[in-house]
């Protein structure tokens, strides 16, 4: 997958995390996988349609999710993944989606972002794609966040 198509998704998540105040963000090398099964308990995903088609997901543990929601809620303590927490994470995902749209429009690539979804559960087995996927692991002060992109071109 061409880097100009995948890098806006990675740039957007880093931009937004920095904007909300997450520190010590660094990433491991980008990996290419043949298909992707995610076993983290929280996955947020967005679909892509247009000149390219596919799905992008961001995943993390429930602990990291609570930390993210807490930062979104101005430091409020988040004890469980309740309505409030899911609402905060949806807002975060919307911000990432908005940032991504902006980066792509600067590149003049014709695509549309579909409805963002946040999925939380236990003992999750989540298949983002049966095709090639590019994965980035972000290490941050509040936990590890995975970013995965699967595009059909």
């Amino acid at each position: 997958m061409k880097e100009n198509l995948t890098s806006p998704f990675f740039t957007a998540v880093v931009n937004v995390l920095e904007q909300i105040g997450v520190s010590d963000i660094n990433h491991e090398n980008v990996l290419e996988k043949n298909e992707l099964v995610i076993k983290e308990d929280l996955t947020a995903f967005i679909g892509i349609v247009g000149d390219i088609k596919g799905n992008v997901s961001y995943c993390c543990s429930l602990e990291t999710a609570k930390n993210l929601a807490s930062i979104m809620m101005m430091g409020m303590e988040i004890e469980e993944i309740d309505d409030m927490c899911r609402s905060a994470l949806s807002e975060l995902l919307n911000m990432i989606a908005g940032n991504t749209t902006m980066l792509f429009s600067e590149q003049k690539v014709n695509l549309d972002i579909t409805s963002p979804s946040v999925v939380v559960g236990e003992e999750m087995f989540f298949i983002l794609s049966f095709y090639k996927t590019i994965s980035l692991t972000l290490n941050t002060a509040i936990g590890v966040i995975g970013a995965n992109i699967s595009l059909e071109i």
């Binding site: 679909g47 979804s117 049966f130």
Partner: protein, 161 residues
């Protein structure tokens, strides 16, 4: 707003469930709106879409584990005892893709929504909740002899039809 669209999705679900997995829907609830986050029966496939006039949304088929295993068993013509497995979930994903494609052909021919579908996502687990900010979501519960299924659509933006 959604009655016409919901009818299309439910009809497609019913016919493709029969065609692909030879399972009949024996009872359907009336469509009802869900205001809070969506609670999954355990196995779910979602297809999101974007269309004209900033329309965005997603279509979910959400299945109890017993029904999901029966669907996979019929599609593959072999016994399956674990739904959390790549081949099994690929059947559910494929069925969702077929339903959404069928429904969307009708929708694009009859309503001017210009919906473009992203590929399906599929997942299984316990106590799953799906949060979609900014969506109004409508649900129909379908009963079969092997378990229940939710057909759920959510839209934001666009024209009221």
């Amino acid at each position: 707003m959604y009655k016409k669209l919901m009818d299309v999705f439910v009809n497609s679900t019913e016919s493709i469930l029969k065609e692909m997995a030879d399972i009949d829907i024996i009872k359907k609830s009336a469509p009802f709106t869900i205001e809070e986050d969506f609670n999954s029966f355990g196995v779910s496939s979602t297809i999101t879409f974007a269309g004209n006039n900033s329309t965005k949304g997603r279509f979910i088929i959400d299945i109890s584990e017993s029904l999901a295993l029966e669907i996979v068993k019929n599609i593959l013509s072999q016994n399956v005892d674990n739904i959390k497995e790549r081949l099994a979930l690929s059947c559910i994903s494929e069925m969702n893709n077929t339903i959404a494609g069928d429904a969307n052909t009708y929708i694009n021919n009859n309503f001017n929504l210009g919906l473009r579908l992203a590929p399906p996502i599929v997942f299984a687990g316990k106590n799953i909740k799906v949060a979609n900010a900014k969506l109004e979501s409508v649900n129909v519960v379908c009963e079969t002899s092997f378990g229940n299924m939710n057909v759920n659509i959510g839209f934001t933006g666009g024209e009221v039809i």
